[in-house]
Amino acid sequence: MCCSSSIARDKVTMGEPEAFDISTVKGLKFFDPHVHMTSRTTDDYQAMAEAGVVGLIEPAFWLGQPRTGLDSFRDYYSSLVGWERFRSSQFGIKHYCTIGLNSREANNESLAEQVMEILPLFIYKEGVVGIGEIGFDDQTAAEEKYYRLQLELAKEAGLPVQVHTPHRDKKKGTQRSMDIALEHGLDPYSVIIDHNNEETVKEVLDRGFWAAFTIYPFTKMGNERMVEIVKQYGAERIMVNSAADWGISDPLAVPKTAALMKLRGLSDEEIELVTYRNAITAFAQSGQLDEADFNAQVDLTEKFEGNTILRGGQQPKPDKSSIIIS
């Protein structure tokens, strides 16, 4: 997530995009282990489903600006296991989430204390596959304090941890995140270190952690760089995600990366591991994620607390090219 990247200038350095040919990955299944669907539209859900995304994980994060009270947190966590999960199911995509206090808002200590008290109400819920996304942003003392407390929570609950690594001072922040996780006795195999890049990947893999990569335009990884990383390090314990949110991001980042990997000659097995299997293996350690639950038949008449995403008479897939909205 970022704010003021200059799109025009980055286009100069990045070049004109090749068209994404969805047929390249036809028949493949994808799992996006980090995507903030509450910030996305139904068009995104439809496009993801059409591109083969069958499951996703929505980590709890901040909303672009800080919350000022506990109830905002409670309602947000409730929406992740409630309304958003239902919304996703309407498109045939199995929705999981990780629950945690994000690093930025950990800096509001009086509120953070209250949030810590309600976390146990949510982390044992069905479909909560980890504690996340937690870790460092500015790398302050308050961030460290709540990161440590939530690692303890994860240990107690037997849940994997989804670790957000900082944009700024990333290398040191990533090392420090791993050091602290080990210090608390977590098995690196239960910890997913997210937002890696060329500078961090080696150490993350060498120390036995999962290395997740966010394919996000301008500010994080591009998928061409991602292809090179898989060529260099192999597919073991590596996964990609979109981290699509309210910034300029791409909810099709996982299928697009798979397509590019295929075009650049990586094997089907490597593609499957990086864009599907590894994430499932890592988060299934929660006991809350079962592939057998994917592809449940979409019941468009189902309702959540009396609400449905389908308004009276609406077709499940409207014709977007038509001027008529009926």
Partner: protein, 285 residues
């Protein structure tokens, strides 16, 4: 700055404000300032203020500009009248003691829309008890909203004067990340430090690995801290074909106390020449 100096600044700002608003609005502001119950009205007055002042860029006469330049606040010529008037309003608040001042203004921060937030952060250098706003300022640096970040980072002396090293370093790093105008950061050179230099070198390496350019101003903050380890990274940067970056690294080396690096730069005839003729400086890069 002494309290007499601040009083003088307050008067110049008021004279600028008056020149840019109607008599009716002037009266409205004076009524608020003279009120014995400012805290009850503050939120309403602060929020509705642009309806009274308009939102045009301020016009400042030469005499006012000169006085503001001398006090270090010349940059307000780029503000709009609502921003300036809001800052003036906060500057003039009389809510009683420190706690009341804090709670009154903190309430404004908690519900601020973007323009309000910009004015609130712009007002930090003018508020009494600067120490009570340190956390708020550090929180502001976490914002993702460009204009709010600019209000804190660019032409605002509050941060350099009040933030601890960790928060200061975060400000500078984030300014690079969000492509702010680094040259407008007040206190940039004075607050350079080793920790920041090391972090910035890591950042440069990350950009290189991603095939991206590095803002040449980054090397300005590394200059004083060049050591054997950093020197190795500088050598990598000098191998790149980006001339601006090479020149920035040369300039950083020239300002360092690391003779080996200076000797190495002298092996690049073009850089040696540019340093010798004095045409290179941080403003020209």
């Amino acid at each position: 700055m002494s309290s007499d100096d601040m009083k003088a600044v307050k008067e110049i700002i008021w004279s600028v404000v008056k020149n840019n608003i109607s008599l009716e609005t002037e009266k409205w502001l004076e009524d608020f300032i003279q009120s014995t119950n400012q805290s009850a009205q503050l939120a309403k007055v602060f929020v509705m203020l642009p309806r009274k002042t308009g939102k045009l860029p301020v016009t400042i006469n030469d005499e006012q500009q000169k006085a503001l330049d001398a006090a270090g606040f010349g940059y307000i010529r780029n503000w709009t009248i609502d921003r300036l008037t809001r800052v003036w309003l906060l500057f003039n608040l009389n809510l009683g003691d420190k706690e009341l001042l804090f709670s009154g203004i903190d309430r404004l921060f908690l519900s601020a829309e973007v323009n309000e937030a910009v004015a609130l952060y712009s007002a930090l250098p003018f508020l009494a008890h600067p120490e009570i706003w340190v956390k708020r300022c550090a929180e502001g640096i976490r914002s993702n909203i460009g204009s709010v970040l600019e209000a804190i980072m660019e032409n605002n002396p509050y941060a350099a004067a009040n933030l601890d090293e960790a928060a200061w370093n975060q400000l500078v790093l984030k300014a690079f990340f969000t492509e702010k105008n680094i040259k407008h950061i007040v206190g940039l050179d004075e607050r350079a430090n080793l920790q920041l230099a090391l972090t910035l070198v890591d950042y440069a390496k990350e950009r290189w690995a991603a095939g991206r350019e590095v803002n040449p101003q980054l090397w300005r903050l590394v200059s004083k801290f060049i050591n054997a380890e950093i020197f190795e990274d500088l050598k990598t940067g000098l191998q790149h074909y980006n001339q601006t970056e090479q020149r920035a690294i040369a300039l950083a080396v020239a300002g360092s106390d690391y003779p080996q690096a200076k000797d190495f730069i002298n092996t690049f005839p073009e850089l040696k020449l540019a340093l010798a003729d004095g045409s290179l400086n941080w403003n020209s890069i």
